[in-house]
């Protein structure tokens, strides 16, 4: 019996150690990549580039799609921020996906909208469109009311109605910095169309002062749960995505703020209305299309342009969000499992897919197993006590050190949070991440994994607190 326990402990200990070593190495590499890239661009006067692209002659017109389902708390702020964008030619399409609250009414009233006609293609099949409205104040602002069909379906309606060759997707609860669209479009314009999709940096708006859809004062939220998410976003966006983008291995660009070539979106069949993570699914389909058709095209992540989005403020809502994200991730990976380790798909198949399977998808299970292992090993004492200490140190290295490193990297390169107190708070909370935030999110992600396997697809509403109106604190 003792021998069996010893064998089991050694086996799982070995698996967890090897996993942690691989992940720490991968993250270290990505961190170094991000550091070098940000160091190179840190002092660049970006206004020079902004000035060049602001001229309509040099830019490409963009249709901005805002799918909204029960977003009455934040949709007006979101629209204001999009109307304030420094971009020469846009049209703004708000797609009300059969909201049961006052989303459409609020938009119609606020922007003085009247029924109107707008030509639409029917290349993507969608739920029925009910009405189309156009603002009398801002003629480039449209509202499309449709039957409820989910975010993917709403976006497909938007693509059908989009007039311009590129479309930008923004969540109904998100707001953009003034130059964000200009900057996210830069790789598309300068690459001569080779960049067919680009995503920007997403940050958390909770706690910030927001005035008419513009973040007017940077303040870190007073809620530890929100601050931990701020740090988490910094880590994910700065560390992971910069490196993956440099190697053309991007599989996720946030649906909260991304730009796509309409032609590629049509060819990829539009958004999938069956999957939960429609944003990841779209990027994977485009990467697949690029490789299948051997096209000289790429998907890029641009760290500079910022989209502010609302984060869950309660454990219950955060739990639902993380469960849903993980289900979406697994569904996309499973749907395109044939790309895994398939040389036909280049670095996406050989490196990106295995990384997402191992670290992002199955990783939480192994890491949660690590926590259980640490507790068990502590109780068993003897040699296992040392195993537990070693594993705990690796957790600290993996969680805390990378989190603090990301906070510092962001502060050094972009300086979004200018107050020293805010930086110290983020760092202090990062020190506690391993004991509460990390295990909680791991548990929720594993829940998502289990729910995916049992095909459970109910996840409840995501209540909004109106952070884009500066109402979150």
């Amino acid at each position: 019996m003792d021998l069996a326990i010893e064998w089991v402990m050694k086996f799982f200990g070995g698996v967890i150690f090897i996993y942690m070593a691989v992940v720490i190495l991968a993250y270290s590499g990505m961190f170094l990549f991000a550091f070098l890239d940000l160091k190179r661009q840190r002092r660049l006067d970006r206004r020079e580039l902004d000035d060049q692209f602001i001229d309509a002659f040099f830019s490409k017109p963009v249709s901005i799609l805002v799918p909204a389902y029960n977003e009455e708390a934040g949709v007006v702020g979101s629209i204001h921020s999009l109307l304030n964008l420094n971009y020469p030619q846009t049209e703004l399409l708000v797609i009300d996906d059969g909201s049961t609250d006052q989303t459409a009414e609020v938009v119609i009233r606020q922007f003085d909208m009247v029924p109107a006609e707008k030509p639409a293609e029917s290349r993507l099949e969608t739920k029925r469109v009910l009405d189309v409205y156009r603002s009398r104040i801002h003629p480039n602002l449209w509202l499309i009311k449709k039957e409820n069909g989910g975010k993917g379906d709403a976006l497909n309606v938007g693509i059908n109605f989009a007039r311009y060759p590129y479309f930008c997707t923004i969540d109904g609860d998100s707001i953009l910095d003034g130059n964000s669209l200009l900057r996210v479009m830069k790789p598309i314009m300068t690459s001569g169309g080779k960049v067919v999709a680009a995503g920007g940096n997403v940050r958390i708006v909770n706690g910030m002062a927001v005035d008419h859809g513009v973040v007017s004062d940077i303040r870190l939220s007073g809620r530890p749960l929100v601050v931990m998410q701020v740090v988490e976003y910094l880590r994910a966006f700065l560390m992971g995505r910069i490196a993956l983008s440099k190697l053309n291995m991007v599989l996720i660009i946030s649906g909260a703020f991304s730009v796509f070539s309409k032609k590629f979106a049509f060819e990829a069949g539009g958004y999938n209305t069956e999957t939960i993570g429609e944003d990841m699914e779209m990027v994977v389909k485009i990467q697949r299309l690029i490789k299948d058709k051997k096209m000289d095209a790429r998907v890029e992540f641009v760290p500079d342009p910022v989209c502010w989005t609302e984060a869950p403020q309660s454990l219950a809502v955060l739990r639902r969000q993380r469960r849903r994200w993980h289900q979406g991730l697994l569904e996309s990976l499973w749907r395109h499992r044939g790309m895994t380790l398939n040389p036909k798909y280049g670095t996406v198949g050989l490196l990106s897919f295995p990384y997402f399977w191992l670290v992002e998808c199955i990783g939480p299970l192994i890491e949660l197993g690590g926590y259980v292992y640490v507790i068990a090993a502590f109780f068993m004492g003897g040699i296992y006590y040392e195993y537990a200490v070693l594993l705990l140190l690796l957790f600290i290295l993996y969680g805390t050190v990378f989190s603090i490193g990301s906070v510092l990297l962001e502060s050094w390169s972009m300086n979004v949070f200018p107050k020293r107190r805010d930086i110290l708070r983020m760092m202090a909370l990062s020190l506690t991440e391993v004991v509460w935030y990390k295990p909680l999110t791991l548990f929720w992600r594993v829940e998502g994994l289990v729910r995916s396997m049992f095909r459970i697809r109910s996840w409840g509403d995501m209540e909004r607190v109106g952070a884009t109106k500066g109402m979150s604190e």
């Binding site: 002092r43 006067d45 206004r47 490193g405 930086i423």
Partner: protein, 325 residues
Amino acid sequence: MTGISVTTVSIGVLLLLLVLVALTVYLFAARAVQERKMEKAKAYLSRNNERWYRVLRGMEDVSAEMVPKNKAELAAVEEIFRAYLTNVSGDKIRERIRAFADGHLAPFYRKKLKSRNWSERMNALYRIEDFGMESLLGDVHTLERKRLTADERFQLLLIDLQFRPDGFIGRNADRLGNLSEYEARQLFFLMPEPVFEEASAQFGQLDPILKYGMVEVLGMRQDLKKLPFLEGLLDSEDPEIRIRVLRAIDAFGIRTPDRILERAFDSPVWEERFLGARMLRRVPADEAARYASRLRDDPSWLVREEVRGLLARQREAAEDLAVLR
């Protein structure tokens, strides 16, 4: 074995945390320096803003106190110059900025051009172009011999175009082939007329990307003298050229000659028929209706939609006119 691992990892984690603490201290110190720099720049601005107004308007000469002594003051002067160049630029103001930059700012930018940091070099190249600093041309040419990024190479081209327009096309033939369409447009947009003429005379030998850029710029310039040149390009075998030519002609804002419309409607390429349909908005209603009937059953949905929209708008206009009468 495990004991050694625990010790090693403990020391490693501890060291990393110490490094992070050191980095935090460094970061905060760097911020304090940056803040002081910003205060100095602000102080320079409040001291000299009015004076710069008078100097750039030619009402006063530059005084020694206005010459920047450090990076903070340089940043302040750059802000002032950028603001004037963007908002109130005129030839005289531009010339005064150039003279001051050549006389007093060159050492700063010379140093930046030699920097190992890419963004510092790029910023220096931007300023040399913005302020028209001819005195640094020698340093810029030295830079040309080094391994540079595509962004730097393009900025060098813009500087070369600004200061040595004669023979620009021949001198840079190899480099022009590597431009993106965005860069090609920007280059043609900034080209003085004689250089543009030289380039258009060699249109057939240009790379497709350059051809596209040139046609787009021709459309933007709306120079009617170029209409025959553009019309001649409708014989091109490259449909992309023909499409862009039609778009450029449409951008002229005049009634498109019938022969061009006919060619567009007969094209097998839907984009050409679409642009032809769009051009009908400047054709008298009865003629437009006649043309539109040819496209009413077009295989492309977009062409049909454009024709439908055109007819609807004309109908509405006719009804409005009837009411007014």
